[in-house]
Symmetry: C2
Subunit: 321 residues, 2 copies
């Protein structure tokens, strides 16, 4: 084994994943445990546990680990070198880089999860795209942006906040979220539009499937109904996909990427979302930029976070003189 | 004189500017002539003339010029290494880099004009921002984007096509332009909204000033009326500035820049545009990103194109091993 090794850590809202990765993208171990999400110190302890377990499981010595990469569910502010993770209690201005470097005695590089996932997508795609947009659409919307092979993190690490794109002035509301892409293009929009549609027509598989799954109408329920041929469900996904496409068009016009990769929960609706999304993106985007862009679904599995975090560590190591 | 010298060329739709610039940003000469805009060969001849005149005027030898940078009114496609300049007759897939390298025997680097202007803005700003958006608003809208000190050009060199941002689904029209930022935020939008307003009310300085200047209502006429206190003119600029701000909010959310620099003809309307623009950007953008961004007017004069082109040449020289 002559390739460099890094440890990739993927801190999520509900789980922590860790693995040893070599510079060729090979994964040597893969450890998963639940995120305590009950305060900083317990989360940090779990992160250290995962790190050590991943190195043990890979049957390599700590000495062979050159660097540590970490993806966090939030942003890493390069100015203050601290992490902000809005959905984890106590994760505000956490000097995670410093804490990990002290504990693990390795150069450590921290980035937002959507950013490291974008790096994984670019790294592991067969055509090695230099310009890539990773758009994750679930409860919220965020993007990881790669231009000319490098991550766009922004001055305070919050670049890629694609959910805030203003795509409709009509929907402007007092909290600044209505009219934004996230309000009309994410999972909750699917549920909301489906509920509105159900108020008008009684019969739909959405209702049947929703009741089977505990009574709640979610984006997953709507996607399941669409797969079984339900017209209402398909129309709802068509509308949300089209809204997403208007936002994606703007991102394509601004960044002229080779590829847009769609991830997150809503990507599982597949072509019901992708087809209207592609159509709207081509309709609205700058023609030269949209003509050659590929818009695809993420093919990476659960390990993307570990791989991307490790990739980020390798990239940062190379940058250093 | 120990600093490196480059020749900066600024090819515009109506004028060509050329100058010798040192790596500290000092301008040693400045030559201007009209763009023939009557076919490729005449434009190229004028560009060569300007280049030679700028070197003579600087009283330096050609030997001291290390590289040539060129800004073009369009895009440079890095894949084909050709220029596309939609407003210049005959400028489609022009191998300008190769032609200039052959004629001037210097490494030559070509980029879109808004991109080189963004580089000039970042270079010459006192705080040397690493993340900068230059937004030019005139007849059209375009952006030059700098992330972590590097230009974002995109796969085919058309990144920064900010005029295509979809900001209102209501206005969607058959040519894909209606509802886009350019339709509601550029100079023609000012003229259109002013004409609409004048149809409803007879008395306005817009009409008086417009008649004095030949009868046509333009963005400049509206800005002049606003400066003289005309309420209708101010309302129009308020609306257009606010539309621009929604687009700028999206760019800020995506790129989290230190600064957004507004240039182009409409920037001359000053605070009548900037104030509503800032307000809408803060209202709509991602809060962490908008809290710390500065939104300012370009302070660079006519030499920005030359300086930015030279800066680009210096950057590309440094990149080479």
């Amino acid at each position: 084994m002559t390739k460099t090794l890094a440890l990739g850590l993927d801190l999520g809202g509900t789980k922590i994943a860790a693995g040893v990765v070599d510079s060729g993208g090979r994964l040597f171990s893969n450890v998963r445990l639940a995120t305590p999400a009950s305060g900083l110190s317990r989360d940090l302890a779990a992160l250290f546990d995962a790190a050590h377990a991943a190195v043990s499981a890979a049957r390599v010595s700590w000495k062979s680990i050159r660097a540590v990469g970490v993806g966090v569910p939030g942003a890493f502010d390069p100015k203050t070198e601290t992490v902000w993770a809005p959905n984890l209690p106590g994760w505000k201005k956490v000097p995670l880089k410093r804490l990990l470097e002290k504990a693990l005695r390795r150069p450590t590089f921290v980035e937002g999860d959507r950013n490291v996932q974008a790096l994984a997508e670019a790294w592991l795609a067969s055509d090695r795209p230099r310009n890539l947009v990773f758009l994750t659409v679930g409860t919220g919307i965020g993007a990881g942006l790669i231009a000319d092979g490098r991550l766009i993190a922004g001055t305070r690490g919050v670049a890629g906040a694609a959910g805030w794109l203003a795509i409709d002035s009509r929907w402007r509301g007092e909290f600044g979220r209505i009219g934004c892409l996230e309000f009309v293009g994410a999972g909750p929009a699917v549920a909301r539009l489906a509920e509105n549609a159900l108020r008008k027509r009684a019969r739909s598989l959405i209702r049947t499937i929703g009741e089977k799954r505990g009574g709640k109408i979610t984006a997953e329920v709507v996607a399941a109904a669409a797969r079984q041929g339900d017209a209402t469900a398909r129309r709802v996904l068509e509308e949300v996909g089209s809204n997403l496409g208007r936002g994606v068009a703007g991102i394509i016009s601004l960044l002229n990427p080779d590829v847009v990769v769609l991830g997150g929960g809503l990507a599982r609706a597949g072509d019901f979302i992708l087809r209207p999304l592609r159509r709207a993106a081509r309709q609205w985007g700058q023609p030269l930029a949209t003509r050659q862009v590929r818009i695809v679904r993420s093919e990476l599995g659960e390990d993307a976070g570990i791989l991307g975090a490790a990739r980020y560590a390798f990239m940062k190591l190379e940058e250093k003189p």
